[in-house]
Each structure stands twice: as C-alpha cells, then as structure tokens.
C-alpha cells in the first residue's frame, strides 16, 4: 500500500511542479499540456490500481506493468520528437535573426561612414 502512496505523492508533486512552472511563465502551455495529462493519468492509475489491470485485459497485455512501461516509452518518444522539431524551428528563427542583425549592422556602418564624410567601402582608398 505504501508503494501506491509513494506513486500518488510523486505524481502530485510532478503536477504541482508543472503548474508552478506555468504560473512563473517558465513553461508555455503548448509544452505543459502533455505533462499535465501524464501526471494526471499517473495519479488516477496510482489511486485506482484496478484500472491498470482492467485496461491491460482490454488491450490484451498480460502484465499490467508492461502496459504502463510500453505506453510511457511511447509518450516519451513522441515528446522527444516534438522537442527536436521545436529546436529545428528555433534554429531557423535564430538564423534569420542573425542574418537580419548582420545586414542591419552593415547598413549602420555605411550610414555612419557617410555621416562622418569618411571614404565609403567600395570607394578607392589611399
């Protein structure tokens, strides 16, 4: 029985932690959703172990814990893939911003040179 209690406590802590991050804006809703669902699911399963047994009977898995392991692996895999695509999108955004910064920086240098009356890049120098 203490094992169940431990599981419930852990998932409640996870849930509270996610909510805490959300409230401090350290986590955006679009990433929090999946973790909220997962921690709620664990709470429900920990509180009602019968549910896991019934569920595994339903899908034809012999040992309820294997069903849990398999589904948690699947969830983690999907989350990891999603995060990879988000990172790729971020890299593309960073790239665009770096380009823009460099182009603006060059323009600024040129304008400053022109304002100073200094020879402009491209003109011949002594």
């Amino acid at each position: 029985m203490s094992g169940y209690l431990f599981a419930v406590v852990m998932s409640v802590v996870t849930l509270l932690f996610v909510v805490h991050l959300l409230r401090r804006r350290q986590l955006r809703e679009k990433y929090a959703g999946i973790w909220l669902v997962v921690s709620l699911a664990i709470i429900v399963l920990a509180a009602f172990p019968q549910l896991a047994i019934r569920l595994s009977d339903l899908v034809g898995v012999e040992t309820p814990s294997n069903l849990l392991f398999a589904s948690s692996l699947a969830v983690l895999l999907l989350v990891a893939i999603q995060l990879s695509t988000e990172i790729s999108a971020l890299e593309e955004e960073t790239r665009t911003i770096a380009e823009q910064t460099a182009i603006l920086g060059e323009r600024l240098t040129r304008l400053e040179d022109a304002a100073d009356g200094a020879p402009r890049p491209g003109d011949d120098e002594a």
Partner: protein
Amino acid sequence: MLPAWNEEIALPLVLAELRDAVPEIDVLVVSDGSTDRTVKVARQSGVRVLDLPINLGVGGAMRAGFKFALVNGYDSVVQCDADGQHDPRDIPRLVAAAEATEADVVIGARFAGAGAYEARGPRRWAMRLLSTVLSRLVGTRLTDTTSGFKLSGPRAVSLFAREYPAEYLGDTIESLVIAHRAGLTVRQLPVEMRPRAGGEPSHSPWRAGIFLGRAGLALAVALSRPAPRFATPDHLAPAS
C-alpha cells in the same frame, strides 16, 4: 562574396588579390561569428562586411549574403573561399561562361582538367558518387559538386536568398538540387585550385569518413523535399 570563419591570416592577401584582379566588382565578406580579427581586417581593406553574431556555417553565411545582395540590388554573386584557394582571375571567366551558356549557376570545378588538386580516401569516393548522381540529375557533367567557387545569376540569387540550406554540405549539394528543382540551369567551368594562403582548414582528414555518410544523407533528403520558392526583396529586411 567570401564566407570567412577565422581567416584573419589569409583574408588580407585574398582581398588585395581581388582588388587587383577584378577592381570593378564589390566585395562582401561574411564573417561567420569569427573570434579573431577577421571583421577588422576586412573593414580595414575597405570592403563591405556582414558580421554574423553567431556561427551559422558556410550555408548560413551564404544565405545572409544572398539576402544582402537582394536588398542591395546586386543581381549576380560569386562565392569564393576566403583562404586564397580560388584564383580571383577566374571570376571574369565564370561571368563569361554564365553569359555564354545562359546558366543561372556556374561552378568553378576542380578535377575538370585544370590544376592538380587531389582528394583522397572516403572523401574522394564521396565526391565521385555525388558528382555522378548530381550530373545525372541536372543533365550536365559536373565533376566538383562540393566546390565553394560558384557564380549565381539573378534568378539564383533570389532563390538562394530564401532557400539556401544551412545544413552541413547543404550549401553545396542541396543548393544544386534546389536550383535544379526551381528550373535553373547549372553549368561548370574548369578552374585550378591553389593551396591555402594561410590559416587552418576547417575540417581535418579523419572526418572524411563521416563526410561520406552525411553527404549521402544530405543528397537523399534534398531529393525528397518539395519544390522551392523564390524570394523577392520586399520579403526581406528594409531596403536601403
């Protein structure tokens, strides 16, 4: 346009050579998050400089350069190594070749008769394989698909300003696939390769094996992508 990453040693020589060989063209150095004096050295010799705040890789630097060309009204761009391996005196030949063949992209190619440059081991096999596949794809013989010496005409500039890949090897291989997909013509011109004028090459020989695998992957992915789009100046930074 010279993509340069920590090239303070070779750059001054290359810029001086460019000024002698082709004084009529504007030179742009794209410093790619260089941690040495690349930017300073380039500014001192009076050329225009894009100073990228982070390292984007050759492809990333090139797309920045193409965007720059587009917003500043340049219609053709020649990409050239900042280490002195490409001879600036070949640039007029590239331009002439583009005019004569009406090609949108002209590659200055090694292994095409001129010069004595040799690659060895897996890197060589990879280059061979790439050349064969890409030659068949674009319908003309290409011997050096990973060359960093390339002319891009107006249509190529506006395409590349939007679509130039930042991936490893994407800047060479995938850009050719993209150009072909967009209906552009690719041709090559034999050029001679010289040794570096100074500084260190950015890749070491032992990474050559990895090169083979990544080159294959880059090609496969490039070929399976949907067709590219063109860019126009108003999609980009405020024009000057």
